[in-house]
């Protein structure tokens, strides 16, 4: 990878960085809402890869763009249901700290 013309490798490295930042957030954050928004970052990294491949490998077929639309749809549904679950748990436990969600602990 050089500074020359932008190609697929540039987008792979960029989306790898974005995905890793999101994964780091999912692993280390204590607030459940924060984990949700970090999952959104990871999904954005995937979409970036899909559209970069769509442009460079199959520019006339639009498969990557259609998959990106489906990913965005599923992500929107996931945020809605995820926030509803968090609100419902908050009613029972009065906290969104993931360390306190210990019902399934051995």
């Amino acid at each position: 990878m050089t500074l020359g013309p932008i190609g697929p490798s540039h987008y792979i490295v960029l989306s790898a960085i974005l995905f890793s930042v999101g994964l780091f957030g999912v692993l280390v954050k204590r607030n459940a809402v924060s984990v949700l928004i970090c999952i959104e970052l990871m999904l954005n990294a995937v979409n970036l890869n899909l559209i970069a491949f769509s442009k460079y490998i199959t520019p006339t077929e639009f498969i990557g763009q259609i998959f990106a639309i489906f990913v965005i749809t599923v992500a929107a549904a996931e945020v809605g249901v995820g926030l509803a679950i968090i609100i419902s748990i908050y009613r029972n436990k009065l906290t969104v700290n993931l360390d306190d969600f210990d019902w399934l602990k051995w």
Binding site: P5, Y11, A68, S88
Partner: protein, 169 residues
Amino acid sequence: MDSIVSIAAFYILAAVTVGSAVLVVAFKNLVHSVLVLAISFLGVAGFYLMLNASFIAMVQILVYAGAVCIMVVFGIMLTQQGGMSGSNGFNKQIFASGGVVALLIAVIAYLGVNAGEWQISAKQVPHDTVGNIAVLMLSKYMIPFEVAALLLLVALIGAVVLAKEVKAK
């Protein structure tokens, strides 16, 4: 896409997107995190414009930077007690997670850079992206399209049922 302007645009957008994504994780205040999250989503929308995907860029701005961020802010308001400062702290796994994530980033970047020559197509992306996507959506990808619509309906009803106020007995 070989002009110096597009190369400069790529690196500026990459700096904005990755920088604000890092700030999403680093900020201690959850509301500030959502603000920089919106900036990160707008940066990704800029990349979509560079990749000739103007329709996806608009969907990104509407759905992610608009709807998702507002919904997350509502979720924060409904679940936060006390002040906002320190609402977004770290847990004890920070060093182990850092190691795992650094390893992952190194492996993906190594594989991506050393994948050999990409078979880059000589064709250009057609200008009429919306028309082409619409034709595909209602012909070849019709069943996934309908299933996505059903999924949104089910998710909406499920969210309403889950978040509905429980009557005190």
